[in-house]
């Protein structure tokens, strides 16, 4: 049964130089080299094959080599140089200062790789150190150089924290690391792949963070207070609105009672009004009826008055006609007399004078007759006691105001 040899039992191990003479030779041992592992054989001081992706059996030679050693016919010095060929990240802590004096600390992360052809160069690493190389050991080896050649110059070009976090600074760091470390890494058997800086917070950034946190806390407190005030205002508004609604409801209820009372009172008033209106209509009807009766009497009185007046006018007209006829006869007579006197030559001034005197006397007689008649008609009228207008004797009521006479 072949024994499996394991050259690496810690993931931090990158390379290991093994003296094959220290391995058991009489018992077969094999090692499986995976795709990310390689092994260089150094036999009697010469670099031999570099193997990978292979199962190396009898790595220590086995029983045959044990016999050969005893007989002195095999190589005197055999060394196995194992290495991991995959990319490996190493972190180198650093502390520096910006030109402003601010302290900066962090890690310089470098990704390196050991390629198959470069495995023998690892002998340079093992020349003055232990035959095992791990990440920590590699970081220690590179620390001073990377600090002096890469980190400090990069920080010296950085003016403030803003540039410290910029991608341009990372680019410069990577370029500078590659340029400055290539020779060293190549000598040690490594290929530089990538580099970047991991920076912790600076003092100024901590201060700004604290300020931001305090500001955020203040703003948060302010927001809480504002929200609380708003909530209180909403509650206050709701309470006020509820009270207002309750007051309005109470008012409305009170107003409703008043309205009912007013409506009942209004009904009473309307009832009273209707009663009064009915009475008024009744009185008006009575009055109208009375007025109709009164106007009927007045019309009767006026008809009688008109009849009397017509009779009177007829009588006066007859008198005037009679008088005119008499006057005409007298005038005719006087004309005839005057003509007779003129025919008889008796028309003297004395005759004419006598004639005019008689005619004047005649007219005076006619005129006094009219005045007597007017004086006799005047006592038939008198003034009404109610309205003061003239009424006739014998009327029962005044035609102007309707009162009984």
């Amino acid at each position: 049964m072949t024994k499996r040899f394991r050259w690496r039992d810690n993931p931090n191990v990158l390379a290991k130089l093994i003296d094959a003479n220290n391995l058991n030779t009489w018992k077969a041992q094999e090692v499986v080299l995976k795709p990310n592992e390689a092994c260089a054989f150094i036999v009697d001081g010469r670099i031999g094959d570099i193997l990978t992706e292979k199962v190396v059996s009898n790595i220590a030679g086995g029983f045959n080599r044990f016999i050969g050693d005893m007989m002195g016919i095999t190589a005197k010095d055999r060394r196995l140089l194992f290495a991991m060929t995959g990319p490996a990240d190493i972190s180198i802590p650093f502390t520096g200062n910006l030109p402003s004096g601010s302290n900066v600390n962090g890690f310089a992360n470098i990704r390196v790789q050991i390629r198959d052809d470069d495995i023998p160069k690892l002998l340079n690493m093992f020349a003055n150190s232990a035959p095992m190389l791990d990440r920590q050991r590699l970081a220690e080896v590179l620390h001073n150089e990377i600090m002096m050649r890469v980190v400090n110059p990069t920080l010296a070009e950085c003016e403030d924290e803003i540039k410290l976090r910029s991608s341009a600074l990372q680019d410069k760091f990577e370029m500078r690391a590659e340029v400055e470390l290539r020779a060293t890494l190549s000598t040690l058997g490594f290929t530089f792949l990538k580099a970047f800086m991991t920076l912790n917070q600076t003092d100024n950034e901590k201060i700004r963070e604290l300020q931001a946190q305090l500001s955020a806390a203040t703003n948060t407190e302010g927001a809480h207070a504002e929200a609380l005030m708003e909530r209180i205002a909403i509650r206050e508004a709701a309470t006020m609105r509820r009270i207002e609604c309750e007051v309005n409801i109470a008012k409305a209820e009170a107003a409703g009672k008043v309205t009912v009372e007013m409506q009942s009172e209004l009904k009473e008033l309307r009832k009273q009004e209707a009663q009064w209106e009915a009475e008024l209509r009744r009185d008006e009807g009575k009055l109208n009826l009375r007025m109709k009766e009164s106007s009927h009497k007045t019309e009767q009185a006026m008809a009688l008055f008109e009849q009397v007046q017509a009779n009177k006018r007829e009588r006066i007209k007859q008198q005037m006609e009679h008088q005119n006829q008499r006057m005409d006869k007298q005038n005719d007579l006087q004309v005839k007399m005057m003509e007779m006197a003129a025919e008889n030559d008796a028309l003297t001034p004395e005759v004419m004078q006598e004639f005019l005197r008689q005619q004047t006397a005649q007219k005076a007689v006619d005129g006094s007759g009219i005045e007597v008649e007017a004086a006799q008609a005047a006592p038939e009228q008198y003034e009404c006691k109610g309205c003061g207008k003239p009424v006739m004797v014998g009327w029962n009521a005044c035609p102007h105001c309707g009162i009984k006479l």
């Binding site: 680019d171 410069k172 500078r176 340029v179």
Partner: protein, 178 residues
């Protein structure tokens, strides 16, 4: 393993100009041929990378960051190619136990042609990188240097694609046809 087809002999001759021990995927030498091709790609990639690293160093020292950045991108691309090649599939020793199907003539043709194309591309990349370094060291304008570096990067990317296709063919051999 069938014999090497006659049609791909010119390709084999072309590869042999670079790799003298290359004989195509003849019987018993399939993994060896694969290893030779891979080693050659890594070696050629490293050569191109060295040229570009020189350009990057000088550009950074002379404060030409734009050229340095482009050169850095190209070197990163070459690192990716080398890593792809280093960790690519190889195939098994015993087809019967591994479940792989037998290699056909068409597979061999494809593989050899791919090998030829990849070697040709990576050789071109070396030439372009060399030209870029030469141009950078003379009074050639920076734009031309950048163009050359970018051409080199493009060639490496194409080479990476071709190599992945080759891996696909090799991977196909591990599956038996139904």
């Amino acid at each position: 393993m069938p014999a090497v087809p006659i049609e791909v002999l010119p390709y084999i001759r072309g590869i042999q100009l670079v790799l003298s021990s290359y004989e195509g995927y003849t019987k018993g030498k399939r993994r060896e041929a694969d290893g030779l091709i891979r080693d050659e790609i890594k070696r050629a990639g490293t050569r191109a990378r060295n040229h570009l690293s020189n350009i990057q160093d000088i550009a950074f020292k002379s404060d030409k960051m734009d050229i340095a950045k482009i050169a850095k991108l190209a070197t990163s691309e070459i690192d990716n190619l080398i890593e792809d090649v280093d960790k690519s599939v190889t195939g098994m020793n015993h087809a019967f136990f591994s479940g792989a199907r037998s290699v056909k003539v068409s597979d061999l043709k494809k593989l050899i042609k791919h090998d030829h194309d990849v070697i040709e591309m990576v050789t071109k990349a070396i030439n372009i990188a060399n030209s870029a370094e030469h141009a950078f060291s003379t009074s050639t304008p920076d734009e031309e240097v950048k163009n050359l570096v970018q051409q080199c990067q493009q060639m490496i990317t194409s080479c990476q694609g071709f190599f992945n296709s080759r891996n696909k063919i090799l991977g196909g051999l591990r599956q038996k046809t139904k």
